[in-house]
């Protein structure tokens, strides 16, 4: 067993920032990550980081834009924290040497981005995430922080009191991918989940293959409520064949969207008559699909994004990376022809419920980055708002876990006081196939909390290791059955078909049925590769389990929310219904029988109350 004060799971932007912050507070911190840090998907972020740095801009404006972008589903304390801390954190990156693009006077450049009232997106070419990730990893090397890379964290070691709010997290169980060793990691002060996105729930996504939402699923099964899962951002400009992202920076710099008729449809058809291409992502994504649906798409699949008029010089200066991506992954020369684009899954607004210090309702368990939901993005994230989230909340979670006093959080976590329960008519029973039933199944499936609440942290971790070992053993021992790849791709297809940009009740129900069937089949899953060395078959089989739980959570949320808000659009209910829905959709695992409940949105900021307005661009 390994032991540290703070264990950070994941080494993307959020994880690295958390580790650095924890170490600065004097904690002995270690990162456990299934990928080497520089392989994390933060590296793929292209466009930039929002921060109110300049004269004429203010954090209040940034907060206002963010709240509007969220369609009034963000929590004001979280949003304000983000916008206040972001400038300082961005400059911190600059002080760490990040290679930002520069203005003539030598200051960092900023550009316009969708949904922002000021050009406040700080960037480094079209490879901002790459620069950010590497800059932070470099600082990690400088500080000599321990990294266990290529260790897959498969479960949390959490006590099993009745109410999740009474539970404590003592560490994690991880599987060394290289050697096949399963080991416990005890965290004396806290575990921080920073496992990133869950794009692999969908078939067409801008996310990496490693983005399987492990952290969210682990926390969910350990009892932590997950929040607003139905809000999935579909990015309007991904390449049709691979899902590779074409940054919003292209539109920020002046790129134009055309349909098959060569019309600038954002204006022509009134989707966003003020901001045109720079309207919020959900607006643009729906506009594109509408065009395709009305027969004005190209090859009935995509639309064109044209940046040729920007001129070669400007393009190579600010968007060079885009040229490479279009060339390598779609065979299109962006200087010569328009690029084909269509919406692709991009970002999960929801995630593990945390407060603005990154803490969950389970003691000693934190979450930061894309896997968390403090709720800054509400129902729709603005471009350039995720990277600041990583550094702001990553830092806070790290510092808080290491014992720094950040004041009492205004956001409450867990099912405290009176909360509204949700009711949902589902075609099949969601959750565990045999909930809380046979010991064997639970083991095969993984993820119920440790047996008893007694014992010290060491024992809790030890017990979790034993349980995981049994689970791995049983997967390895089966000689026949279903392979995870089939299950995974069926779920991905179903999600992309039914829980996409446009959602209909029947489709959502169909998706639930598909998922339930997939769960059945997962009971028979087996790992074919008998090797203990680098067994990716095993790892992916474990990940697929997470995909199942998350697909279900997303669909349940989508079915429950019968309104149109932000990224969530329902065929039957095409308007925002503030009287009823100014609340977060919460889901608790409840030992295998998911429970739906609601939590009001906090619109009250430090010195102002955000008034829900019609969101038009």
């Amino acid at each position: 067993m390994y032991e540290h004060d703070v264990i950070v799971v994941g080494a993307g932007g959020a994880g690295l920032r958390a580790a650095i912050a924890a170490q600065e507070e004097g904690a002995d911190v270690a990162i456990v990550s299934k990928l080497h840090p520089v392989r994390s998907h933060t590296g793929a972020a292209e466009g930039g980081i929002n921060a109110a740095l300049r004269e004429g801009d203010s954090w209040e404006d940034h907060a206002y834009d963010t709240m509007k972008g969220s369609d009034y589903l963000g929590d004001a304390p979280a949003i304000e924290t983000l916008c206040k801390d972001s400038p300082k954190e961005v400059i911190q990156l600059e002080h760490w040497g990040m290679a930002f693009s520069r203005e003539d006077d030598g200051r960092v450049s900023q550009r316009p981005f969708g949904g922002l009232s000021f050009p406040r997106t700080t960037y480094a070419g079209a490879e901002t995430g790459h620069q950010l990730l590497h800059t932070m990893y470099e600082q990690l090397v400088k500080r000599g922080i321990t990294v266990y890379d290529e260790w897959y964290v498969s479960d949390l070691a959490v006590t099993d009191e009745e109410r999740p709010e009474d539970r404590t997290c003592h560490g994690v169980v991880a599987y060394d991918i290289q050697s096949g060793e399963l080991s416990g990691f005890r965290a004396k002060e806290g575990v921080i989940l920073a496992t990133g996105g869950l794009g692999q729930v969908f078939e067409h996504t801008t996310n990496a293959v490693a983005n399987t939402g492990d952290g969210v699923a682990m926390a969910y099964r350990a009892g932590v409520p997950i929040e607003d899962m139905e809000f999935i951002q579909f990015h309007p400009t991904s390449l049709p064949s691979t899902g590779v992202l074409i940054s919003e920076g292209v539109r920020g710099e002046g790129g134009i969207l055309y349909n098959a008729e060569g019309e600038r449809f954002m204006y022509e058809y009134g989707y966003a008559s003020n901001d045109g291409e720079l309207a919020s992502r959900d607006v643009v994504a729906r506009a594109e699909l509408n065009e395709v649906g009305e027969g004005r798409g190209i090859d009935d699949e995509y639309v064109h994004l044209d940046m040729r008029h920007l001129g070669e010089e400007r393009i190579t200066d600010r968007l060079e990376n885009i040229l490479h991506l279009a060339k390598d992954f779609e065979g299109v020369d962006g200087l010569e022809e328009p690029m084909p684009v269509k919406p692709g899954q991009h970002y999960a607004m929801g995630g593990i419920e945390t407060d603005e210090n990154g803490e969950t309702c389970v003691g000693g368990l934190y979450a930061a980055g894309e896997c968390a939901c403090a709720s800054v993005h509400g129902s729709n994230r603005l471009g350039g708002n995720a990277l600041p989230e990583l550094i702001v909340f990553g830092k806070r979670a790290g510092a808080h876990a290491a014992g720094k006093d950040l004041g009492t959080a205004e956001i409450e976590t867990g099912q405290r006081g009176d909360y509204e329960l949700g009711e949902l008519d589902t075609p099949v029973q969601p959750g565990e196939v045999e909930p809380a039933g046979g010991e064997g199944d639970a083991v095969a499936d993984g993820g119920v909390a440790a047996e008893t609440g007694s014992g010290d942290g060491h024992d809790i971790v030890e017990r979790a290791v034993v349980r995981e070992r049994e689970r791995v053993q049983s997967l390895m021992e089966k000689d026949d059955g279903v392979q995870h790849a089939e299950i995974r791709s069926d779920v991905q297809d179903s999600m992309t078909e039914h829980v996409n940009v446009f959602r209909e009740e029947d489709g959502l129900k169909q998706a639930l049925e598909d998922i339930a069937e997939a769960r059945e089949r997962y009971q028979d899953v087996f790992v074919k590769d008998p090797s203990r060395t680098f067994n990716t078959d095993l790892i992916q089989t474990l990940e697929t389990r997470n995909i199942l739980d998350l697909a279900e959570a997303i669909t349940l949320g989508a079915l429950a929310r019968d309104e149109f808000r932000g990224a969530h659009w329902r065929a039957e209910h095409q308007e925002r219904r503030d009287e009823e829905w100014l609340k977060h959709t919460m889901l608790s695992w409840n030992d295998g029988t998911p429970e739906l409940w609601y939590k009001p949105v906090l619109l009250e900021g430090e010195d102002k109350e955000y008034e829900p307005k019609i969101r038009s661009y």
Binding site: H41, H95, A99, H130, Q178, V209, A210, F329, D479, P530
Partner: protein, 299 residues
């Protein structure tokens, strides 16, 4: 190619005297044996079918993939497996590998994640050259497409190599920004000219894929040589005007070590294989000149 090891089509015919690198529990051994058998059958079938399809259908690509596993019977001797993958427009080598894994043999092992040439996990030796699987179109390659792990590195399993040495070298050049002094205000940034950012821009693109290191004969022959990627990393900081003179001096001292820049024999293969088009040789040469100039000052 004439130099290939002979190919074995099935795994069962491999010899049975198993010499595991570490002792395995009997249960594990038994399990492995059983699995190997069950799998051999099924895979044989799948492959035969695919090969048949390959005959009457032109739209498949023929891949020869290097296989090795230190603890699995029949894979301890490296061999090449054949996969026939149905071709779709725009398919990359990585796509083909994923298809082969998900359809024919789930034990086929390789690193990958981003699918967009940014995470640097899938540098492979494809048709005799270091390339990123995700950035290599099948249509650009001659068949059969030969896929091997990076040369000059320990193979862990199939296409996965041990990257530790590469990481060590990267970290040996003190790869972190360390300004002599910072502006006073918390919100005050350091100034950097556009020209200077332009100068270091290419060097900041490195994704740590290790392709360059694998292609360099000098690095292959001498493990102490820092290698092109690490030198490039050092270049990125040494040329950044935001770091002070003292720091630059220190960086040059590191690079001037016997196994630093001087080992480079300007083979250019690093520059040629770098998927991020970083002019590595140029950077190394520039640092050699910097180092010489630096020393001339003290003569």
């Amino acid at each position: 190619m004439s130099t290939q090891v002979p190919e074995t089509e099935t795994e069962t015919e491999a010899e049975t005297d198993v010499e595991h690198s570490e002792p395995l529990a009997p249960a594990q051994e038994e399990r492995m044996r059983k699995k190997a058998e069950a799998r051999a059958d099924r895979e044989e079938r799948a492959r035969r079918e695919a090969a048949e399809r390959a005959d009457d259908d032109e739209d498949t690509y023929h891949l020869k993939v290097f296989r090795f596993d230190p603890e699995v019977e029949g894979k301890q001797e490296p061999r090449f497996d054949d996969f026939h993958v149905p071709y779709e427009k725009g398919m990359t080598v990585l796509d083909a590998l994923i298809y082969a894994r998900d359809t024919f043999d789930s034990s086929l092992t390789f690193r990958h994640s981003c699918r967009q040439a940014i995470c640097g996990s899938d540098a492979l030796f494809i048709n005799g050259r270091q390339r990123l699987g995700c950035k290599t179109q099948l249509s650009d390659l001659d068949q059969p497409v030969r896929v091997e792990p990076l040369p000059h590195a320990d193979v862990e399993k199939d296409l996965v190599v041990d990257m530790d040495h590469f990481y060590d070298q990267m970290e040996a050049v003190e790869p972190y920004f360390d300004a002599d002094e910072l502006p006073d205000g918390e919100l005050e940034e350091q100034r950097q000219t556009r020209e200077n950012r332009e100068k270091v821009k290419m060097s900041t693109r490195c994704i740590w894929c290790g392709a360059c290191m694998s292609s360099c004969n000098i690095a292959a022959g001498n493990n102490e040589y820092l290698g092109p990627a690490a030198i490039n990393k050092a270049y990125r900081f040494a040329m950044d005007e935001r770091e002070g003179e003292d720091r630059k001096q220190h960086r040059l001292n590191i690079l001037e070590q016997e196994n630093g820049v001087w080992r480079c024999q300007t083979q250019f293969s690093c520059t040629e294989v770098c998927p991020k088009d970083i002019p590595l040789t140029e950077h190394i040469q520039e640092l050699k000149r910097e180092a010489v100039k630096n020393n001339l000052k003290f003569w």
